[in-house]
């Protein structure tokens, strides 16, 4: 049943998340009226152009082990929301919690709980091998020596990159770099994964294997996944629920899978409503 996450409900009806232990372990991601405005210019504050509102009173709750989709057109605010949850961007308004830690107040705790695979495929050291890259990032999350090597081999195996582990990342295809980004998000074994278009550049077979991996991580390891995607079929196939984001606002949260064409039809209706 669709849940309307009404932006106008923020001020009056959305209560502060419950902080009991049960709630903390059940609700892995919560946002309360989160807004994000990008100022006209960064620093120094010289006026150039106009401010952009990327998120507008976004209120969501995602349970442990849930795969939650963010669908919407380009510029809808999907990546911005993921970056806010990963502490890379500070929200302009509202509050957000990941694994019980507030994004603004306990960014260190949030970073321990989150693995982000962003769509930025440059984000590796291209002269180093895939294994060396992951060993570096493992070091940043406190893993070293044999445990780090074991963990790196494990996550490389999960994304089917073990045969290419010793090759420099410069020789990887776009799809391989995307899978390496997922492996990097997993290297610290965080309970929450934020995936930004993880199958964007993959061929259908590789995309299917990533989708299967996401399902497996949620089902078998209890990972909570927030998945930003343009691909409605992917959202249908992988997500338990999905929020339709349009111009920074959550228009609707749908339980998935919907009957044939349900998500696509509703999505088109909402896009039509936008026009």
């Amino acid at each position: 049943m669709p849940l309307v996450s009404g932006m106008r409900r923020c001020a009056s009806t959305v209560s502060r998340p419950v902080s009991s232990y049960d709630a903390l372990i059940r609700m892995m991601i919560e946002t309360e009226c989160v807004g994000k405005v990008f100022a006209a210019a960064g620093w120094p504050r010289v006026r150039r152009g106009r401010s952009i509102r990327a998120l507008d009173r976004v209120t969501l709750q995602v349970e442990r082990g849930e795969v939650f989709g963010l669908v919407g057109p380009n510029g809808a605010g999907k990546t911005t929301l993921l970056k806010v949850l990963a502490t890379l961007l500070a929200p302009s308004e509202g509050r957000a919690w990941v694994a019980g830690a507030e994004v603004g107040r306990n960014p260190g705790l949030v970073r321990r709980a989150v693995g982000l695979a962003a769509g930025e495929e440059r984000s590796f050291y291209w002269r180093l091998s895939g294994r060396e890259n992951l060993e570096f990032f493992a070091g940043l999350v406190g893993l070293a020596g044999a445990p780090a090597r074991r963990r790196v081999a494990g996550v490389l195996g999960l994304v089917d990159l073990l045969p290419m582990a010793e090759e420099p990342v410069a020789r990887y295809s776009t799809g391989m770099r995307q899978r390496l980004a997922i492996a990097r998000a997993l290297v610290g074994d965080p309970p929450v994964l934020l995936l930004d278009e993880p199958t964007r550049s993959l061929d259908p077979v590789a995309a299917d294997s990533v989708r299967a991996l996401i399902r497996r991580l949620a089902r078998d390891e209890g990972k909570t996944v927030m998945l930003a995607t343009h691909n409605l079929d992917e959202a249908q196939a992988v997500c338990h629920r999905a929020a339709v984001l349009v111009r920074g606002t959550v228009r609707e949260v749908l339980s998935l899978p919907t009957p044939d064409g349900g998500l696509a039809g509703r999505y088109r209706e909402l896009m039509g409503a936008r026009a």
């Binding site: 100022a39 961007l89 060396e132 990097r184």
Partner: protein, 266 residues
């Protein structure tokens, strides 16, 4: 040393292994610079009286100057260069996402550059001593160490300031270039500050490298101890005390602004 710093060190060593030619070139540049300075020094024999106070001839004077300048430039620019490189490479986001504290990230990202610069400086002075008889027999180790520690403290503070500007402006490091250029001109790297016009001599006193060079030359070439270096060490300490809090505040502001405006994406 934190795990994050080891991770950076290992990463940068591995990256350096893939660019061995660059490392070899740094050694060659030392091998070329030392004789250049030595033969330039032979032109200036006997040494001008104005060099006398520093405790050596022109070769000794300029060797300490160039070695110290190299170390200070690396100290000031390492962190900013690392930030810029990560910005350009698209990896800054990922680093800031790690749970490692920001100080460990900043120190770790600068560590390899600092070690290479320290190695290069050591090689420079050892080569000058062995091949060209640069005389360190009177060197006062405690005085030199005190001057070096304070100088590195000033450089670290300036480095954090430079890195903050790079983070905010997404431009190459301007502050290090500015301070280095001003130091080359005024601080007494290639000639004593006393040959400058009086207005420039006064301006030179505002540069940390002026005091660092004076202290290091007096300690290494004349054998002055900590007590005799009091004036210069106090000046360096003042720079540390003034610049460190400014750098910390600048770092915090830059990070907060970056997280507000999404600058780290590069």
């Amino acid at each position: 040393m934190s795990g994050a710093m080891w991770a950076f060190l290992r990463r940068d060593y591995r990256l350096a292994r893939t660019a061995r030619l660059a490392l070899a070139w740094q050694i060659v540049s030392v091998a070329c610079t030392v004789p250049t300075m030595y033969y330039l020094g032979r032109l200036l024999r006997p040494p001008a009286p104005v060099l006398g106070a520093s405790g050596g001839d022109y070769f000794a004077f300029v060797s300490v100057g160039v070695a110290c300048l190299g170390l200070c430039s690396a100290g000031m620019g390492a962190c900013a260069a690392a930030v810029r490189q990560e910005q350009m490479g698209g990896t800054l986001d990922v680093l800031l996402l790690s749970p490692a504290p920001v100080w460990a990230l900043a120190a770790g990202a600068s560590l390899w550059t600092m070690l290479v610069a320290a190695g290069q400086t050591g090689l420079y002075l050892v080569f000058a001593a062995i091949a060209f008889h640069l005389d360190f027999s009177r060197a006062n180790v405690a005085g030199a160490a005190a001057a070096l520690v304070l100088t590195m403290g000033v450089c670290a503070a300036l480095g954090v300031l430079s890195a903050s500007l790079v983070l905010l402006l997404r431009r190459p490091d301007v502050l290090t270039s500015l301070v280095t250029s001003a130091s080359v001109l005024l601080a007494g790297v290639f000639y004593p500050t006393r040959v400058l016009p009086s207005a420039l001599q006064r301006a030179a006193e505002l540069l940390p490298l002026t005091h660092a060079l004076r202290a290091l030359r007096l300690a290494l070439l004349r054998g002055d101890g900590v007590a005799a270096l009091g004036t210069e060490l106090r000046a360096l300490l003042l720079f540390v005390l003034v610049l460190s809090p400014v750098a910390l505040v600048a770092g915090r502001v830059a990070l907060a602004e970056a997280r507000r405006s999404g600058i780290p994406a590069g």
